[in-house]
C-alpha cells in the first residue's frame, strides 16, 4: 500500500496535541544540542529534529499500556509516548533525578510506566525486544500492541528477518516502524541497502505501508489502521516512513568528518518540508487554531523546556552506592 486506504482526518484536538508534542521534541532537542556545545551534558546526543512526525503520529494511536522500543535516536520517541521531559533532561545531564537515575544517559532513556521499554545503543536490538513484548502481550490477551521504531540502517541487521518471520508465524501484535532517514550513520542508504525496505516484510504476509514520514496526518492515519490490525489479533504490521534528520548523525560529527557527507541543498530541500511547520500551517488552514493560539502554545513549550533545563541543572550527582546497590538487586 502506498499509503493508508482511508482518508480519515484527526479531529482538531488530536491535531493540536500532536503539534504540541512535535514542538516539545523539536525544542527539547534544540536545547540539548546547545547543552552539548555548552558542556552541560556529558557525552554526545543523537537528535531526531526533522523526524518528529513519525514518533508523534504513531504514538498518538497508542496508550500507556502499549509498548515502544526505541533507538539511539530516542528522545523523540520517549517524549511522543508521554515520557516526562524533566526526568529526560536530568538523565541526559547525568543526574540522580534522571528517568534512569543517571545510569543510562541520552542513548538509554526508558520509562516502563509509560510503556517506553527503552532506547538502545545497539542498532537493531529493539527488533527482538519488541517481538518479545508482542509475545507477552499475546499471552496476556489484553490487546496491547508493541511498536518497534528502527532505522533504515538497522533494517540491514539479520534480526529483522528473524523478527518478521516469528511475529508473522505467531501472529504477534507488533508494529514495525522503519524510520527511513536516508542514512546509515554517514553512509547514504543506497550505498548499503538493497531494494525497498518495506518490501522485506511482504513475503511474510505482513501488511505494509510506505509513507511520507514528514506528514503527521498521513503517519497518524496509517498508524490508526496498522495499530488496529495488530490489536485485533491479525498479527504484525509494517510501516516505512520516509524522513530526514537535519542535525546529522550525532552532535560531534562536524569534528570527526573531514568532508561533509550531504549537501546543503539536500538539507534545505527537507527543511522546506518540515513536519512541524507543515502541521502548524495545517492547523491554521483548517481553522483548528489561529496564529495567536499557536504562538501561545510555542511559548508554553519554551517555558516547559526552560523548566526542564532548570530541573536537570538543579539535580544531584548519583550516589556512588547506587551502582553497587543496583548490581546487588540484579543478582
Amino acid at each position: 500500500m502506498a499509503s493508508s486506504t482511508s482518508n480519515i482526518q484527526p479531529d482538531d484536538e488530536v491535531l493540536i496535541e500532536m503539534y504540541r508534542r512535535m514542538l516539545l521534541i523539536r525544542k527539547s532537542e534544540e536545547q540539548l544540542f546547545r547543552d552539548v556545545k555548552l558542556g552541560r551534558t556529558p557525552g554526545q546526543v543523537h537528535l531526531s529534529d526533522g523526524q518528529e512526525a513519525v514518533a508523534v503520529g504513531i504514538c498518538a494511536n497508542l496508550d500507556d499500556r502499549d509498548q515502544i522500543t526505541s533507538t539511539h535516536r530516542g528522545h523523540g520517541h520517549y517524549l511522543a509516548k508521554g515520557g516526562d521531559v524533566n526526568a529526560m533532561f536530568a538523565e541526559v545531564y547525568g543526574k540522580a533525578e534522571g528517568i534512569c537515575r543517571g545510569m543510562g544517559g541520552s542513548m538509554h532513556v526508558a520509562d516502563f510506566s509509560k510503556g517506553i521499554v527503552g532506547a538502545n545503543g545497539i542498532v537493531g536490538a529493539g527488533l527482538g525486544i519488541a517481538t518479545g513484548a508482542g509475545l507477552a502481550n499475546q499471552l496476556e490477551g489484553e490487546g496491547r500492541v508493541a511498536v518497534c521504531f528502527f532505522g533504515d540502517g538497522a533494517a540491514n541487521q539479520g534480526s529483522l528477518m528473524e523478527s518478521l518471520n516469528i511475529s508473522s508465524l505467531w501472529r504477534l501484535p507488533v508494529l514495525f516502524v522503519c524510520e527511513n532517514n536516508g542514512f546509515s550513520e554517514f553512509s547514504p542508504s543506497d550505498t548499503v541497502t538493497s531494494g525497498v525496505i518495506s518490501d522485506r516484510a511482504k513475503p511474510f504476509g505482513i501488511p505494509v505501508w510506505n509513507i511520507d514520514g514528514n506528514d503527521v496526518v498521513e503517519v497518524w492515519r496509517t498508524a490508526l489502521e496498522a495499530v488496529d490490525h495488530c490489536r485485533s489479533g491479525a498479527g504484525p504490521a509494517f510501516i516505512e516512513a520516509r524522513t530526514y534528520r537535519y542535525s546529522g548523525h550525532f552532535s560531534a560529527e562536524a569534528m570527526v568528518l573531514s568532508t561533509p557527507y550531504r549537501s546543503d541543498e539536500e538539507i534545505q530541500a527537507w527543511r522546506a518540508r518540515d513536519p512541524v511547520a507543515r502541521t502548524r500551517a495545517l492547523i491554521i488552514d483548517r481553522g483548528a487554531a489561529d496564529a495567536t493560539a499557536c504562538e501561545r502554545m510555542e511559548m508554553e513549550v519554551d517555558a516547559c523546556v526552560e523548566g526542564a533545563v532548570a530541573f536537570g541543572e538543579a539535580g544531584t550527582a548519583p550516589d556512588p552506592g547506587t551502582a553497587e546497590q543496583l548490581m546487588r538487586m540484579g543478582s
Binding site: 554526545q44 547525568g94 544517559g105 540491514n156 541487521q157 550513520e185 570527526v256 551502582a323 553497587e324
Partner: protein
C-alpha cells in the same frame, strides 16, 4: 629516525603499509571508506586503495564478520573494523565458532588470516553499551590471538604483525588514546606477538598494565618513587600469546605484583595473570598478588559514577604501598 605520531596515525600507517605490500589485504566495516570511521582513524585509505579494497558495509556485524571469515579462508587477508568493542557480542559465532577453530579442525590445512580491529575503554560518557573492555571474552577462546597496544608504537608494530599472521588476531585499541602521541620509528618495524616489554625497572613491586593501564601503572610508579618505593612496570602487549617469561622474571625479582586491566575484574585478565604468577612464582612472593580491574558493574553514564569504575594511578600506588609495607590489602 623517530617522530611523534598519534595512535590513530600509527594504525593508519600500519594498514596503508601492509595494503601496499600485499594486495590481498582488504579493509571491511561500517563507514570505513569516505567517513574514515567516527574515530577518524582510517582517513585517506579509500583514496589510495579504492572502494574495492576499502569496503563500507551495511550495519550487519554478524554478516560482515562471516564474510571476512569466508574471504580469509579463500585467499584474502581481511582487516575487519568493528566500530565499538561492545559489538563483539554480535560477531561471536563467526569469530569464535568459525574463525578460531578452522585451522585446528582442518588439521592445520586451512588458515583464517584475518584481523579484527576494535576498541575498549570507559570514561567517554557513552554509557554501558559503548564503554566495555571485552578482551577477556576473546582471550578465553583457544585459536584467537589478542593484542592490546599501549601506545602508538605498539599499535603500529603489533597491527603489522597481526596482518601478517596466518590466523585470527583481535586487536583492542583504547578509544581514549587515539590522539595520544608517542615516538614511532620512520623505518618499518614489526612487534612480534607474544613479547612483553619492561617499561621501567624497579625492585620492590611489579605493576603489570595492559593497554592504557600501562600509563596508569607508569604514573603510579612515579607516585611511588616520590615515596621512596621502586616499582617495575611491565606491559604484556599481547594476552594471547602471553609472555610469561618476562612477567615471571620481573615478579621473581620484586616479589610483589599488581595486575591492572580495564576489563571487569571478575573472571578477567587480571585473574588469569595473577593466577599464573601465584602458580609459577609462588615461592618468590612476599605478598598476595593483587588484581585491579574495572568495577564489576555495567559502566554507568553519569561521570560521577563512571570515573569510579576504572583503576587510577592513585589507587594502584596505594595498593603497592600497602604491599611493600606489609599491610594487608583488602582487594575487591
Amino acid at each position: 629516525m623517530t617522530r611523534e605520531i598519534t595512535l590513530s596515525q600509527a594504525v593508519n600507517e600500519a594498514i596503508a603499509e601492509e595494503m601496499r605490500r600485499d594486495e590481498t589485504v582488504i579493509l571491511v566495516g561500517e563507514d570505513v571508506a569516505e567517513a574514515g570511521t567516527p574515530f577518524k582513524v582510517l582517513s585517506g585509505l579509500v583514496e589510495e586503495f579504492g572502494t574495492d579494497r576499502v569496503i563500507d558495509t551495511p550495519i550487519a556485524e554478524p554478516g560482515f564478520m562471516g564474510i571476512a571469515v569466508g574471504a580469509a579462508m579463500t585467499g584474502l587477508r581481511p582487516i575487519v573494523d568493528l566500530m565499538f568493542g561492545d559489538f563483539l557480542y554480535l560477531v561471536m559465532d563467526q569469530l569464535c565458532n568459525q574463525a578460531a577453530k578452522t585451522h585446528y579442525m582442518s588439521g592445520g590445512k586451512l588458515n583464517v588470516p584475518l584481523v579484527l580491529r576494535t576498541n575498549l575503554g570507559a570514561t567517554r560518557r557513552s554509557a554501558a553499551q559503548h564503554s566495555q573492555s571485552l578482551h577477556a571474552l576473546v582471550a578465553h577462546i583457544p585459536g584467537l590471538k589478542v593484542a592490546m597496544p599501549s601506545s602508538a608504537y605498539e599499535a603500529k608494530g603489533l597491527l603489522k604483525a597481526a596482518i601478517r599472521d596466518d590466523n585470527p588476531v583481535v586487536i583492542f585499541e583504547d578509544k581514549l588514546m587515539y590522539q595520544d602521541k608517542a615516538p614511532v620509528p620512520e623505518e618499518e618495524y614489526l612487534l612480534p606477538l607474544g613479547e612483553a616489554a619492561i617499561l621501567r625497572e624497579g625492585l620492590e613491586v611489579t605493576l603489570i598494565g595492559t593497554s592504557s593501564m600501562r600509563q596508569v601503572c607508569e604514573k603510579a610508579a612515579e607516585i611511588l618513587e616520590a615515596d621512596g618505593i621502586s616499582a617495575e612496570v611491565v606491559d604484556p602487549r599481547t594476552l594471547v600469546p602471553l609472555d610469561e617469561g618476562t612477567i615471571l622474571g620481573s615478579v621473581r625479582k620484586t616479589s610483589r605484583a599488581i595486575v591492572v586491566d580495564e576489563g571487569h575484574q571478575n573472571f578477567g585478565v587480571t585473574a588469569e595473570i595473577a593466577a599464573r604468577i601465584s602458580e609459577k612464582a609462588f615461592y618468590h612472593l612476599d605478598a598476595p598478588v593483587i588484581r585491579m580491574g574495572a568495577m564489576d558493574v555495567p559502566v554507568p553514564f553519569s561521570p560521577a559514577l563512571e570515573d569510579l569504575t576504572v583503576p587510577t594511578p592513585e589507587a594502584v600506588a596505594a595498593n603497592a604501598r600497602a604491599l611493600v609495607r606489609g599491610v594487608p590489602v583488602h582487594a575487591l
